[in-house]
């Protein structure tokens, strides 16, 4: 069986769904960050696969580079926020972060 576009898209879907479930169900703040990374990575697989299998050419790869850079920036800021949260609450259970609740 030849490797086609569908296989890459399905791998991207597995990573995307794993990331979404990870974001939705985990109560550990760092685990939620890992879910975000997985979601962005799944989208990246789709970009590169479409760059290979359509006329997009290098455009898809350039967009995936931007996604990688933005994911790194997001991880840096989110980890800084997580460290601040830990300093204030002595835990990273995101259910404890309800101080802004009305």
């Amino acid at each position: 069986m030849d490797i086609g576009l569908n296989d890459y898209l399905l791998i991207g879907a597995v990573m995307f769904v794993s990331g979404v479930v990870c974001m939705a169900t985990k109560r550990n703040g760092i685990a939620v960050l890992m879910g975000v990374e997985l979601v962005l990575n799944g989208a990246n697989i789709n970009f590169v696969a479409f760059a290979r299998y359509t006329n997009l050419g290098l455009d898809g790869q350039v967009v995936s580079l931007f996604v990688i850079v933005l994911a790194a920036a997001e991880a840096a800021v989110a980890l800084a926020i997580a460290l601040n949260f830990y300093n204030n609450h002595q835990t990273i259970d995101i259910d404890q972060g309800n101080r802004l609740k009305g």
Binding site: I3, I11, E37, D59, F66, V69, L70, A72, D93
Partner: protein
């Protein structure tokens, strides 16, 4: 044949690592599983002929983001907070929603007939895309010069401006983010600020 073998190895590692991040409860094991998943994704990028993106993935994700993540794990995962359990009902509900969501996406992907899409092609057109070697072309594309022969293809200016502006925006964004992260993560000690008037 080797391409298919490599694809299945990397695909199983990437998908298994992603599922492992969801299933495992220990935060350190989750980080390791994430390393496996992201590294295998870089392998998939190599198979797709995107060698520059794959190298960036290895450098930035596996080299940078995961060091940051493990740093966060080290600083925050102490004792009782390392495992935060979910209830069984939540686990079952999450698994059901995840399976449902995945089946929706898989059904959508498999129901598309890619041969009928006009821009679809089975084999890469330009030889530089088949063999990889895309770093020079991507660099030219980033500074605004299209490397492939698409100059004037879409009627001259407008569509061929490349990615110079997004590149600059992302550069400034990265700088702002680094400054902001350093500001957010700096050590604040309430005791010392409370005791400061007495010291002064």
């Amino acid at each position: 044949m080797t391409e298919q073998t490599l694809f299945w190895i990397f695909a199983i590692l990437a998908g298994g690592g992603a599922i492992g991040v969801v299933i495992l409860q220990d935060i350190v094991r989750m980080a390791f599983s994430l390393i496996i998943s992201l590294g295998s994704t870089a392998g998939l990028f190599f198979l797709l002929g995107a060698d520059f993106v794959a190298a960036t993935q290895l450098l930035v994700y596996v080299g940078g983001t995961l060091v940051l993540l493990i740093f966060g794990v080290m600083l925050t995962a102490s004792g009782p907070f390392r495992r935060i359990r979910m209830s069984t009902g939540e686990t079952l509900l999450g698994a059901a929603v995840g399976l449902l969501f995945f089946s929706v996406i898989a059904f959508t992907v498999l129901s598309v007939n890619w041969q009928a899409v006009p821009s679809y092609r089975e084999v890469a057109g330009s030889p530089s895309k088949q063999t990889g070697n895309t770093s020079r072309a991507i660099g030219l594309r980033l500074v605004g010069i299209p490397a492939d022969s698409t100059i004037g293809l879409h009627g001259g200016r407008g569509s061929n401006t490349g990615y110079l502006l997004p590149f600059e925006i992302v550069s400034v964004h990265l700088l702002v983010v680094l400054v902001g992260a350093a500001y957010l993560a700096r050590a604040k000690r309430r005791e010392s600020t409370d005791a400061e008037p007495e010291d002064a």
